[in-house]
Structure formats: structure tokens, C-alpha cells
Symmetry: C2
């Protein structure tokens, strides 16, 4: 059963992120940061050029140290993913390999589906500049290719991890696309809006804002729409009522003073 | 009309990316790279700490130099976005500001809609670590907040630009979620698959692969499913037919040699 084998990491940390032959410790550190940004915690490193852990990795990982602390180092790609049941390889679209190529978004969907079935997943990332070898790419079930600007698509290691991790995170994220944070207040009711409009209309009439009675209906409709479009809160309606009272009072006082 | 005013950049380069008070030239360079990755070209910089352009920015932009070459520097945020009609601010969820908060994905949808109407858009990115001031955030129509791991959500400048730009790029990208690149070949037809299965069944029968006639139907069904699940190409079917012929031939020869 998934997650009950103590020798294996739990699925909660998401797919294993497997860095194959990373050249610079700094890139391992920034990749670890990108992982933690996305809630990924299972880092595996195959034949790093510099001994790992090293101080460059730790310095670059600032705040994501625990990803490095639990990272495991392997002598070969096969050893690193021996327990993985769904293996993805991130690479440019291969020329002569008949293997499914998916977008990061589709990969995220497949990863979440697989995880829901208790399957262990992993994603291979190749070394800086040269990427994955054909030998490692062939081992994967599917290829992930990020469809960015074809004229300039080079991503560094941490950015590639970030985009794939971001999609994985988003695939289970419940944040509503749009939200209006209301703090301690709430949206105004139609009744409150009508109360404000009643006050405003009286004051505008008194102030002679509407040039003619014939022009008033359209002008008044447009003005109301400005405030309705703003989706006011109850607090803002009170503020506006105060503003109108004060402006009108100033005008009255102003006249009286003359 | 959109795009006909020569004093304004065309909409083709996407929303203006406005870096407010960036502290390090290097971060301007990496942000420029992230922009070009996503097909964004309109870079605007407000009060950079170091004189711009500078060699750190150029070095970090490797390959994205033309973004820096056309970048414009401003003394204030208002000047930088004076022509913008839809302004977004990237920042953490504001505490006491009633302003729509959108995900990068929703922002991308809104940006593409606005661009289709010919509206000029811009996105403010604050300085490293401290982010945007309230004063600048207030100017925006909406807030973009990236919903990442709440326990560790700090992104550097280039990563924030990359995620927002990636969503903008993806919102108009037509890459199919999954693709099976076929090179010069094509998927096998049912007729070709049946031809292969016919050959394989004959050879397996000859070789005594099926222990009993009673067990054969289920075994044979399962074996066929392996090959059907793989969605073979016409070329692969021919390769498999050759493989079966050769294996069978070897076995026959092997017997003859005894």
C-alpha cells in the first residue's frame, strides 16, 4: 500500500525531482528553493559534478535547507528512480523517439491522477545546457516539453523545476481565480446602495448638478453605474455617504458665508 | 486605434513588464531572459538602484540583450505606466485593500482579453525582498498573487516574471496537451496490427508457448493488449514482425543444430 513502506518517502511530497549530473552546487540550491515553493520535497541527485552536499548548494537554497538535508545522491539514473512507476523526462521535443510528449499542465494532471492511485512518480531534469542524454530520456514513459517562445526557450535548471512544480501545485490548488478580499467588512446590499443613491440624488438636485430635467435620467443612470461597477463594500458606502454629506455641507456653509 | 500610434510600442510584445526600483542589475538581466522566454518584450524600469544599462544586467541577460536595448527607464511609477489602461500589481495578498486579487492564470486570461480589445496592459513588479510599496499597489486595478506553498512562497524577481509570463504565453498557446511525435512514420492500422497478431499467434502456437488450449484465450487476449496499449506505429509493427520471425527462426535453427 502506498505510503506504508517506511523505506520509501511518502507521496505527500509530490513526484521525485531527479537532477541528473548537475554541474553547479548553486543550481541544486536554487532548484531546491523552486521545489519548496511548489510543495515538492523529494530531491534525488545523480552523479553531481561537485561533491554533495556542498556550501554553494546550501547558500543558494536559503530557507529550503531541509530539501537538501533529505536529498539522496545516486551513482546512476536507474538506481535513482528504481522505485518510480511513472517516469517523466523534461527535455526538448525529441526528434526520432516515438514517445508521448506532454505539456507541463498535462503532466501535472497525469501526476495528480497517478498519485491519487498511490503510484510513485518521478521527473528527470538533465544537466545545465546539455540536458538529458538520449539514454536517460529513453527510460521515461513520457516527455515533458515546456511550450515557450520557440525563438528563445532556454530555461535554467531552477526555472524548469519551478514551471513543472508550479503546474503540479496548481493542479490541486483551490484558490479562486478572482477574489475581492473584504477585510473586516462585507459587500454592500442593494438596499444600502439605494440608500446612498437616494442621498446623492437629493444633494445633486439641490446643487443644480443636472443641467435640465430632460438630461437627468441618462446622466443619473451613468453615474449610478460608476458606483455599481465598483462593487462597493458596506464600509465604502458609509465613507461615500460621509463624503457627499461633507461636500454638500461645505457648499451650504460656503454659500452661507458669502 | 491600437498599434497605429507610433509613439507607443505595439501590443504584440505583450503587457509592459515594469520593474519598480530593482536593486541589482543581474536581476534585471535574468528578468529580461524570463520575458523573452515568454515572448514579452516591453521592459520598463523605475528608479533602478544602479545606473542602467550596466554590465551586470547585460551579462545576466545572455541572449536576451534586445530586451535590455529597448528597455526604458523612468523616474516614477506613474510616468512608467502613464499609457497603460489595465494595470496589475504583483504582490502578496494585501491585508487592508479592497481590490480584486487574481491568480496568474486568471490574470493571463484578462490580459489576453484586454489585448484583443486593443487595450494596453502593464504589470508592476516590486523590488527584491521588500516588494511593491502600498503607494504603487494602490495604483493598480488588480493584484496578481501566485498561490504557491504558503509556508515558503518567496520567489525572486525573474521567477515571478517567468510565472506570470508563462501563464500569459500559455493563454494563447495551441500546443496539444499530449502528442505522439511520429517522425516519418504513422500509427499502425487495425489491419496491420491483426497481421502482426496473426503471425505472432502462429509462432507462439508452434513454439508451444500456451500451456493448454483452455488457458490460451485469456493469455492471448492479455498479450494482445500489451501491444495495443503501446499504440504502435507502422514502422514498429514491421520491426516487431521482424523480431518475431528472427526469434522463431533462431529457435528452429537452434533445434536443427542439435
Amino acid at each position: 500500500m502506498a505510503g506504508t513502506d517506511a523505506t520509501k518517502p511518502s507521496l505527500a511530497g509530490g513526484p521525485a525531482i531527479v537532477l541528473v549530473e548537475p554541474q553547479l552546487g548553486e543550481n541544486i540550491g536554487t532548484a531546491a528553493r523552486a521545489m519548496l515553493n511548489c510543495g515538492l520535497t523529494d530531491l534525488r541527485i545523480v552523479r553531481p559534478r561537485e561533491p554533495f552536499p556542498n556550501r554553494y548548494a546550501v547558500a543558494a537554497a536559503s530557507g529550503a535547507d531541509r530539501i537538501l538535508e533529505t536529498a539522496r545522491v545516486y551513482d546512476g539514473t536507474v538506481e535513482a528512480v528504481a522505485d518510480v512507476q511513472r517516469l517523466f523526462a523534461t527535455t526538448a521535443r525529441p526528434r526520432d523517439m516515438v514517445k508521448p510528449v506532454v505539456t507541463p499542465r498535462e503532466a501535472a494532471r497525469l501526476l495528480r491522477e497517478a498519485e491519487a492511485r498511490g503510484e510513485r512518480c518521478g521527473i528527470l531534469f538533465g544537466r545545465e545546457r546539455t540536458g538529458l542524454t538520449n539514454e536517460d530520456t529513453v527510460r521515461a514513459h513520457s516527455i515533458i516539453t515546456v511550450p515557450l517562445n520557440p525563438a528563445y526557450s532556454s530555461l535554467n535548471l531552477a526555472q524548469a523545476v519551478l514551471l513543472v512544480g508550479y503546474e503540479w501545485f496548481m493542479a490541486a490548488d483551490a484558490t479562486p481565480p478572482t477574489e475581492l478580499p473584504l477585510g473586516g467588512t462585507r459587500l454592500a446590499t442593494v438596499g444600502e446602495m439605494e440608500g446612498f443613491f437616494g442621498q446623492l440624488e437629493v444633494e445633486l438636485d439641490r446643487a443644480g448638478f443636472f443641467p435640465t430635467e430632460a438630461m437627468k435620467p441618462a446622466m443619473w443612470r451613468n453615474l449610478r453605474n460608476v458606483f455599481l461597477r465598483a462593487q462597493l463594500t458596506e464600509q465604502e458606502v458609509r465613507t461615500l455617504r460621509g463624503m457627499v454629506s461633507r461636500l454638500a455641507g461645505t457648499r451650504h456653509r460656503g454659500r452661507g458665508d458669502v
